[in-house]
Symmetry: C2
Subunit: 246 residues, 2 copies
């Protein structure tokens, strides 16, 4: 879905540990920020359990609707790491040993003087035809097949893989984003924001209450990818109107 | 979808601020933990933008598949707070002033000696026939219509609303969950876990690497809702097998 050359992305977080509350996810926020920096719209995130049928269904549904589908989690060495096999199934490609990934693992485990067991070797299995997303942190690479980018779940490894992903994006855009903080309550400025939203097309205006037991004011975020000029005009309009009622 | 009397839930996080990375979500983890405590399976989470068409589509899709659909975000006083109106549309009910909610707002703003503006009054609009989910923190109630529970986005208010939700659940279950921590690497115990997973049905076995630059070991989480006895047997089996290889 290309619109003004703007690409969109979705993120699929795979892991029971997020759904049971055992683990607080940290990857959504990091990936969201990094995508925002290079002007890719993150339009959808879902968190799903480690169940092959669910993974296959979600991947097939989302890969049609988004330019980039990023997944996190489930590519380690144990029985509950079923992401690579599930994605092979979803894209109807053979789940097989990737020679390049296998070499990476041999190199890594030699370096840390540890054994490359069969369980670890499993981390080199992925859909036939995948490109590797290398990572120096744990040695085990993620992979890219079609428009799907498969990352690990551990935040430091996700950060390394996200750097590789960003490097691979050729046409980077830039969002214009700026904010106004006011002590006025949301309800006081609701009307101003509604008018600004109507008058400035291609501009997104968000209002976020500052709240610490009591309302303390609002942060207004004005952003645009397609039209920086309009976003600047919108900001000026909102600031002037707020000054008029203070 | 009732199975052994176990109910399932999904969570819809509504808010551009999560998708742009501006805000780190804190509600997913809190709601996941609270649902786990009362034995409701959180099976799906999604994060979607403040766009009416998207909200309506997701709510209609998910309310058929889950016993409980919880939403967070988008019920404040400004133009980008469109959750209540979107949900009215999704369930085909009139979006109208709820007299009980209106009374709550009058009471709250009298108490904090602030004006009940038109923008604030908007927070009493919701689908016809809604039950209120009261909250003492901000005065503005969430609501329940059909199997949909609509919460605010601010974490302290979500916590208050989640307490009301939990109170309303009549038949609370309890998950059995226990864990084993070992310094062995995932790859060393992969085989043991695979056998345990096969032999103990109704038991979920998760393995989570402990990682701080280097792998430091694994936490194995054994849990079950339907069969506590089997979960205890699985834990004993895994512990014995691990002791055998140390």
């Amino acid at each position: 879905m290309v619109k003004n050359n703007i690409k969109n992305a979705c993120l699929v977080v795979i892991g029971n540990e997020i759904l049971t509350g055992r683990t607080q996810d940290k990857n959504i926020n990091h990936i969201a920020k990094e995508l925002f920096k290079v002007g890719i719209l993150l339009n959808y995130v879902c968190v799903i359990p480690d169940i092959q049928k669910t993974i296959v269904k979600e991947i097939r549904r989302l890969k049609k609707d988004f330019d980039y589908v990023i997944t996190t989690g489930g590519i380690g060495p144990t029985h509950d790491d079923i992401t690579a096999e599930s994605i092979s199934f979803a894209v109807k490609r053979e789940y097989k040993l990737h020679q390049g990934a296998f070499k990476e693992l041999i190199k890594y485990y030699k370096k840390i003087k540890s054994e490359l067991t069969d369980a670890r070797k499993k981390m080199a299995y992925m859909p036939s035809g995948s490109k590797l997303i290398k990572n120096k942190v744990s040695g085990a690479p993620g992979f890219n097949i079609e428009n799907i980018y498969v990352f690990a779940g551990i935040p430091s490894i996700v950060e390394a893989m996200m750097r590789e992903f960003v490097k691979s994006i050729k046409n980077k855009n830039k969002f214009y984003s700026s904010s106004i903080t006011t002590k006025l309550f949301e309800s006081k400025i609701a009307n101003i924001l509604a008018i600004a939203e109507k008058n400035f097309t291609d501009v997104s205006i968000g209002s976020y209450p500052i709240f610490d037991g009591k309302p303390r004011g609002v942060e207004i975020v004005i952003s645009s990818l397609a039209n920086k000029k309009n976003a600047q005009k919108a900001k000026k309009f909102i600031q002037t109107e707020i000054n008029n009622i203070i």
